[in-house]
């Protein structure tokens, strides 16, 4: 991988991040229009013109949108995401508390989903059209189609009735507090997340495996008398691995912004809950902060995936053309 490529890619990523900031600013600051109305609710109507002007000046709303953007963006560069209007706590602190929960959930879900998805994808692809293929595909489709909120709801209800365990009743236990207690809280939500994820991984694995299995080099390997197991793992799965790794990386990025429903139902204080509370309380600093962070994380993860992709594939790893 050439340095030139890497630099170009980093520059592109930075450009995208600036674009992300612009979109977040436009969508969340320009569209709702009036932070004051949002903050004071119905009381805003009782403000005099002078009070309103003073408040607008206090929040910097009287300057031009461009000025506002650069002031806000300047703050971002210093790690200042603003202050929650509801509680007065800096958004960075709130995110700092919520992020580990979401990260743990995402990692746990991936750890469960990836092996399951890859194994079943291979199983399905080993005999396309056979009973095993159709049943794995059918289950996979259900895994994608049954909404997460249904699975989560049913799981919570089942936990409550079968184990008299109500996740939402207790308080959150971090890994630092108690590893076992934490795992007990996190395992079920992670499982719920893992269902859809495993289905996606399975589908990608299946199609990538089938594609690789049809390659000429697989026939070459068989023609050398290589054992079937080695053909499957060393040749087919290895080549199918590149799209699988890419997809898993992207899914991980998605997961950072996609744990919302599960966090809500299982009452876990993660980024999703934070975001949802921000939206429901019209606390835009929080919504902005979380959206920006997750989008930025997503961009960085995608960049990482791209780099890993290029490292995995000798065709893009090295410079020059001929030996």
């Amino acid at each position: 991988m050439s340095l030139r490529y890497l630099l170009g890619r980093v520059a592109g990523m930075l450009g995208t991040l600036v674009g992300v900031a612009v979109v977040v600013f436009v969508v969340l600051r320009a569209l709702p229009g009036d932070t004051i109305t949002a903050k004071l609710g119905t009381q805003a109507a009782t403000l005099t013109a002078d009070q309103r002007a003073a408040l607008r000046h206090f929040y910097g709303l009287d300057s031009s949108p461009v000025t506002q953007f650069f002031r806000w963006f300047g703050g971002l560069l210093h790690g200042d995401l603003g202050v929650s209007m509801d509680t007065g706590v800096p958004v960075t602190h709130l995110i700092g508390d919520a992020l580990p929960v979401t990260l743990e959930l995402a990692v746990l879900a991936m750890v469960i989903a990836v092996p399951v998805g890859v194994l079943f994808g291979m199983l399905a692809a080993s005999r396309p059209g056979a009973v095993r293929d159709l049943s794995v595909q059918g289950v996979g489709l259900l895994g994608l189609a049954v909404p997460e909120f249904v699975v989560a709801t049913v799981t919570v209800a089942w936990l409550a009735s079968a184990f008299a365990y109500t996740p939402s009743a207790g308080t959150y236990v971090s890994i630092g507090d108690s590893f076992g207690g934490n795992l007990r809280q996190m395992l079920y939500p992670a499982l719920v997340l893992a269902i859809g994820l495993a289905a996606t991984v399975m589908r990608t694995t299946r199609s990538a495996y089938l594609e690789a299995a049809g390659s000429d080099f697989v026939r070459t390997a068989r023609g050398k008398g290589v054992t079937e197991a080695r053909v499957r793992f060393r040749h087919i799965l290895h080549n199918a691995g590149i799209p699988i790794v890419t997809m898993v990386g992207i899914q991980f990025g998605y997961l950072l912004g996609g744990t919302l429903v599960v966090e809500q139902v299982f009452a876990l204080p993660g980024l999703g809950r934070l975001l949802l509370d921000g939206i429901l309380h019209q606390d835009y600093a929080i919504v902005q902060g979380v959206t920006l962070l997750v989008a930025a994380a997503f961009v960085v993860v995608n960049f990482g995936v791209d780099v890993v992709y290029r490292l995995l594939d000798p065709r893009t790893r090295s410079e020059g053309r001929r030996a």
Partner: protein, 291 residues
């Protein structure tokens, strides 16, 4: 099986190709998908029109009643008929899905085709914009937009449309690049065909297939997203019937009043599975290697 068959030289065929709907139905997945989606719509129409229950009518005496002759799918905590509410919810979902995917297909598809065909500055600008939108995880972007735009089905539709537009840009652009470099388009250039003729008569008809497949898949995703947003209280607002809201309400009565959760959930699953399979059927029907 098909792999071996391709090694045999195909005999020249004389019959014309069957029409697209026929080919979708000829595919096993496509047939199941069409049947599922059709069934859902028919059942919804029948239960709304024929049974004549008002999805909003409350009934103080018959709350949380199980399925019965009067209420086929039971009633909810306000004694409202679940069958009627699910049917109305299905239509609400489909309305959001169709409007949002329609907007995304037209805007995204057009931008994708134009930027792919024209290349140059337009392509670069459109490419950067889609990159930025792609930087947001889909759910997050929809959520942020709903937060900004406010509730209501149309705002939900707009939010979903914005999320799906860049996807349609990419889905349309890729095949346009391939077709643009195809020999039959080059032949058209050598024959002196105008750019608009090449675009509309030669490129567009040959990039419809992947877009059509994506439309089916996008519809299923839009239904899931709409339901999810409603579940979180960010989509359709009560008392309007919505599948996501119904599941959310049912949480408090599950598993005792299981019907309050099962039927709306089932409606979502059937719609999503059905549309996915229609998508598979379309993909197979439009795959030139299979025809």
């Amino acid at each position: 099986m098909t792999r071996a068959a391709t090694l045999v030289a195909p005999a020249p065929r004389t019959a014309g190709q069957p029409s697209l709907p026929r080919r979708i139905v000829a595919d096993r997945n496509g047939l199941i998908g069409v049947v599922l989606v059709g069934l859902l719509v028919v059942v919804a129409v029948v239960s709304l029109v024929h049974l004549g229950q008002d999805p909003l009518a409350q009934n103080r005496t018959g709350q949380l009643a199980g399925p019965s002759g009067a209420h086929w799918l039971g009633t909810d905590q306000f004694g409202r008929d679940i069958a009627a509410r699910v049917a109305a919810g299905v239509f609400a979902s489909l309305r959001v899905a169709l409007v949002s995917v329609g907007m995304a297909t037209i805007v995204g598809g057009l931008l994708g085709v134009l930027s792919g065909f024209a290349g140059g500055v337009l392509d670069a600008v459109v490419g950067r914009c889609t990159d930025v939108l792609f930087a947001f995880p889909a759910t997050l972007l929809a959520l942020a937009l709903v937060a900004a735009l406010g509730h209501g089905w149309f705002n939900t539709a707009i939010a979903i449309a914005v999320v799906y537009t860049p996807i349609f840009v990419r889905v349309a652009r890729g095949p346009v690049l391939t077709v643009r470099e195809s020999e039959y388009v080059k032949a058209g250039r050598v024959l002196g065909f105008s750019r608009s003729r090449l675009l509309f008569r030669h490129v567009l008809p040959n990039v419809g297939a992947p877009i059509a497949v994506q439309v089916a898949l996008a519809l299923s995703w839009a239904i899931l997203t709409e339901a999810g947003l409603s579940f979180l209280g960010l989509g359709t607002q009560p008392p309007s019937p919505s599948l996501g809201l119904m599941v959310s309400d049912a949480r408090n009565f599950f598993p005792d009043a299981w019907w309050t959760l099962l039927f709306p959930a089932l409606a979502v699953v059937v719609a999503v599975v059905g549309l996915n399979m229609v998508g598979d059927g379309l993909r197979n029907a439009l795959d030139p290697r299979r025809s």
